[in-house]
């Protein structure tokens, strides 16, 4: 899965109008909360077969950091 598709996937999960890019700070996204982050974990597992640690996701500051977790 390409970077753009992952960003689009995260945008869908959050159901946000915000324009997301690699530099977007997660805390600046109104919809970013614990439910959103657990949705992201589920997304990686279901769509990409990737098992991301909750702590690693918690350490992410930006959308780009999440992409790095997915090896992008």
């Amino acid at each position: 899965m390409e970077k753009e598709q992952i960003i689009e996937g995260i945008k869908d999960l959050l159901d946000t109008e915000a324009d997301l890019n690699e530099g977007t700070v997660l805390d600046d996204i109104e919809e970013w909360d614990s439910l959103a982050s657990i949705s992201v974990l589920a997304f990686f597992k279901q769509k990409m077969g990737l098992k991301i640690e909750a702590q690693a996701l918690k350490d992410c500051k930006t959308v780009g950091d999440i992409l790095k977790l997915a090896g992008k």
């Binding site: 159901d15 919809e31 982050s37 597992k45």
Partner: protein, 352 residues
């Protein structure tokens, strides 16, 4: 450590009682600051929709007593039979004495009975089973385990929007000695560093009630906290690991387990735990939380009565129960339910 094998334990019955009043998340237009989109997103991903809440007068003890009465009425257990009564709850009737003392009289139990309260929430049911099983290994023949919570009474959790998801319930479980019963396996643990991740700070003896601890409408400011991110992280770190450890300890495979009945925390968390364990969603009930909310300590027995009734009554099968949350604590067990009595969830309409 913290894994245990307790032999000769038979569960004979599980019953659950919920209050009559049903609420839906959409009933409260002020939820999430009136942000409808946020509410829809929470409902979709968390699975929460309906829940049952008590009126001002009804307490956890009332719901538990009703659940116990169902078992007395069905002659599954007689009031004079229990050698011990355990009441697990974080919403007792009084500051003191223990609610179990009040329940001894109310349920007409014998006087030569061991009674005590346990203060545990989400992991409380499995803790209760562990203590009941331990008492049986100390010589008790029958233990009546009453587990429940009325978290809706922590009203400021609803005011501050952190917890519009809790439902109330009381449950009763009969635990007996049986020479031929399979053992129950337990894995139990605590991470007290997370004690403040879910906390009602005011009203105990650390922060006793003060005149400024009241809202304008007269309700008490518990100063309740629920740190969703930390709880989620804790759950995903600890719960799959605890269940894996338990299975290894018990010498069982995931395929040997008919259902994994987890605390009904929220749908997303349960789905993630299932994926992490490679357990199919069908083997992990999640629908109870949509109908009854997150019932704290009562969620596991209520889920059994809600979706596994027939299976529990008509078959002999192995189950994993796992509670996790406030404390922060986790408690998992692997046990056999062999043709138990498991009535439909009772609706509590108040004392006659």
């Amino acid at each position: 450590m913290a894994t245990f094998t307790v032999p000769h334990i038979r569960i004979d019955a599980i019953s659950s009682s919920v209050p009559e009043k049903e609420m839906r998340l959409t009933d409260d237009p002020t939820l999430y600051g009136g942000n409808e989109k946020q509410l829809k997103r929470v409902m979709k991903s968390s699975g929460f929709d309906k829940r049952r809440v008590t009126d001002d007068k009804t307490t956890t003890a009332d719901l538990c007593a009703a659940a116990a009465q169902t078992l007395f009425d069905a002659h599954i257990i007689a009031p004079e039979e229990p050698d011990a009564l355990i009441f697990v709850s974080q919403t007792p009737d009084y500051q003191i004495p223990a609610t179990s003392c009040v329940l001894q009289k109310r349920l007409n139990l014998r006087e030569d009975v061991v009674v005590f309260d346990i203060n545990h929430g989400c992991s409380g049911y499995v803790y209760g089973l562990f203590l009941a099983a331990s008492l049986i290994n100390s010589g008790c023949k029958t233990v009546l385990l009453l587990v429940g919570d009325t978290v809706s009474k922590f009203t400021d959790m609803f005011k501050n929007g952190s917890a519009p998801i809790f439902g109330d319930a009381g449950t009763a479980t009969v635990v007996r000695y049986d020479e031929n019963a399979a053992p129950i396996f337990f894995d139990i643990g605590t991470d007290g560093e997370g004690a403040d991740a879910i906390m009602a700070k005011n009203g105990g003896f650390r922060n006793p009630p003060e005149p400024d601890m009241f809202y304008e409408d007269g309700t008490f400011k518990y100063d309740s906290v629920m740190d969703g991110m930390r709880i989620m992280q804790f759950t995903l770190d600890r719960v799959p690991a605890s269940i894996e450890k338990l299975l290894t300890f018990a010498g069982k495979n995931k395929e040997d387990v008919s259902s994994f009945v987890l605390h009904q925390a929220n749908k997303l968390i349960l789905q993630n735990v299932a994926m992490s364990l490679d357990v199919p969603f069908e083997k992990m009930p999640m629908e109870t939380l949509s109908k009854y909310g997150n019932q704290s300590s009562a969620s596991i027995p209520t889920a059994v009565c809600d979706v596994l009734r027939e299976q529990a009554e008509k078959t002999s099968a192995d189950y994993v129960f796992c509670g996790f949350g406030i404390g922060l604590t986790w408690a998992s067990c692997l046990l056999n339910l062999d043709h138990i009595f498991c009535p439909e969830i009772g609706i509590y309409k108040g004392e006659n």
